[in-house]
């Protein structure tokens, strides 16, 4: 029974990892940018959520109404003001610049919020659970997973059913020709980063309700996000969800066997899949 429980908990945890990963996947898909600062942006969103709950006295989920647009705005400005200038034939400048950004965000959070671990208070949501036969499922993990599925479905719909998604795909295919269609690629990239950081805001707040966080935890979230993206296959959003679930299950099952194995088991699962299927489980067909 422990084992079944671990798998189910792992699947639900995978939803959170998919949310970490979705923004990364989107950014890489549209503009081939690997955002090293992604984990720190998740933590930034968690702190913005904390401040919003404290200042306005609202529930963390209500804080999404503030944090999602703020993060989207930060994303657009960041892309137009900084990251667009790093994009080109060379993949090194965006890596270096986002690495620098990661350091800056961590230190700014350290200045602003200190190194003390913080947590958002979500009231009964944190402890409430639903009994499903012999299993007891936490309401928060269930909600997180449902949000992850909804977010990925919404991103998928945006990508394949809207003019904005067409612009994303066209710009990703061929930047020169997309511009001949009247698309300003700088603006398109700005919108992509805004959308990615809007998703990051959701991920950050759910993270901040689930566990305590401090300015240094971004790196770990970045790794989980990367692993979920690679396991699922680059450029495939549903694959990213599957990748997050595999990572989550590996971690919880590993922790059941030995509490010290949680992170290790996740990384091993990632390495095994990378060795067997270097392109991930569901790489985007064609390309």
């Amino acid at each position: 029974m422990d084992f079944v429980n671990a798998v189910v908990q792992g699947i639900l945890l995978g939803g959170l990892y998919a949310l970490f990963a979705a923004g990364l996947s989107l950014i890489f898909g549209v503009m081939r940018l690997v955002n090293i600062a992604h984990g720190d942006l998740i933590v930034l969103a968690a702190y913005l959520g904390l401040t919003t709950t404290v200042v306005l006295g609202v529930h963390p989920l209500v804080a999404l109404i503030v944090v999602v647009p703020v993060m989207a705005g930060i994303g657009y400005v960041l892309q137009r003001g900084v990251l667009n200038h790093t994009l080109g034939d060379d993949i090194l400048p965006p890596l270096l610049v986002t690495f620098g950004l990661s350091v800056i965000i961590q230190n700014a959070l350290l200045e602003g919020y200190s190194a003390d671990p913080q947590k958002m208070d979500a009231g009964v949501l944190e402890t409430a659970s639903v009994a499903l036969g012999p299993l007891s499922l936490g309401l928060l993990p269930l909600l997180t997973f449902a949000i992850a599925v909804a977010v990925i479905a919404a991103l998928q719909w945006t990508f394949y059913r809207t003019p904005l998604g067409r612009a994303f795909r066209a710009t990703s295919d061929n930047q020169d020709i997309a511009q001949l269609m009247g698309l300003n690629k700088r603006h398109v990239f700005g919108l992509a980063m805004a959308l990615a950081l809007a998703v990051t805001a959701v991920a950050g707040i759910l993270l901040g309700i689930r566990t305590s966080f401090d300015p240094s935890v971004g790196g770990g979230r970045l790794i989980f996000g990367f692993e979920a993206v690679i396991i699922g296959g680059l450029g495939n959003l549903w694959g990213t969800l599957v990748g997050g679930v595999i990572l989550g299950v590996a971690q919880t099952v590993g922790a059941t066997i030995n509490p010290g194995w949680q992170l290790l088991a996740g990384h091993i699962a990632f390495l095994v899949i990378l060795a067997v299927r270097p392109n991930g489980l569901f790489p985007r067909i064609s390309g």
Partner: protein
């Protein structure tokens, strides 16, 4: 004398570090079809890419309806009414046929061209509209590329090597469709290797040789000998 819609004045354009055009003077008149011919490497594609804004130049070297656009961004140029059918089609592989056409209409200019008109011009595209653009034959892909440019309702449309890599029968079909495309007062620039085809559909012709204009004249007035000399540079 009709007013030029597009004027190049002493255009010096670079392809990377390499200068591809040297002081090119050229004008496209309202409503005319202008052919640009020349050997490989003569600078034809650089010329079109410069006009489209994909290669930055001095602002005053290219004017469109009197406005300097030499250093304008390609998306801005597109919204002003210039469209290009690029060499090698260059459709968006992750977009379906219909999506490729729809993205062409994104510039949102008013005019006669819409999905319906494009499908009437190339009925095969309507049958294939949900397919991936890469699954089409070369000729059908060229139809999508042309339709995509038309969806922008441009005032000036530029065709870069539309017959390249296509079967002769397909080339004939596409050229047969051209009058229906440019008949509505649209101006056109056609870059073409096939000199006979280029002269047949155009009213005036320019020949480029090593980045310079080596010949210009009325398409029905230039002689084969003139062209051979301008094309290859032999006396």
């Amino acid at each position: 004398m009709p007013e030029p819609i597009l004027t190049l004045t002493g255009l010096n354009a670079f392809h990377g570090d390499f200068q591809a055009l040297y002081g090119v003077d050229l004008e496209v008149n309202e409503g005319e079809v202008l052919a640009i011919i020349g050997a490989n490497g003569a600078g034809k594609t650089t010329l079109l890419r410069s006009i489209a804004g994909l290669i930055g130049n001095e602002a005053s070297q290219i004017t469109y309806r009197g406005r300097p656009i030499g250093n304008a961004r390609p998306d801005v140029v597109a919204k002003m009414g210039l469209a290009m059918v690029p060499e090698g089609r260059q459709l968006f592989p992750s977009l379906s046929v219909e999506e490729n056409l729809m993205i062409g209409g994104r510039v949102n200019r008013a005019g006669p061209w819409n999905l319906r008109r494009v499908y009437d011009l190339f009925p095969i595209l309507e049958e294939r509209k949900a397919q991936a653009s890469t699954s089409l034959s070369g000729g059908q892909q060229q139809m999508v590329a042309i339709g995509r440019a038309l969806m922008a309702n441009p005032d000036l449309i530029m065709f870069d090597e539309i017959s390249l890599g296509l079967a002769p029968v397909i080339i004939r079909d596409i050229y047969k469709a051209l009058p229906g495309i440019v008949g509505g007062g649209m101006s056109a620039v056609i870059v073409e290797q096939d000199i006979t085809k280029a002269l047949a559909v155009s009213s005036r012709v320019y020949c480029l040789q090593e980045g310079r204009v080596s010949l210009k004249g009325r398409s029905d007035a230039v002689s084969r000998e003139d062209i051979a000399r301008a094309y290859f540079g032999v006396e």
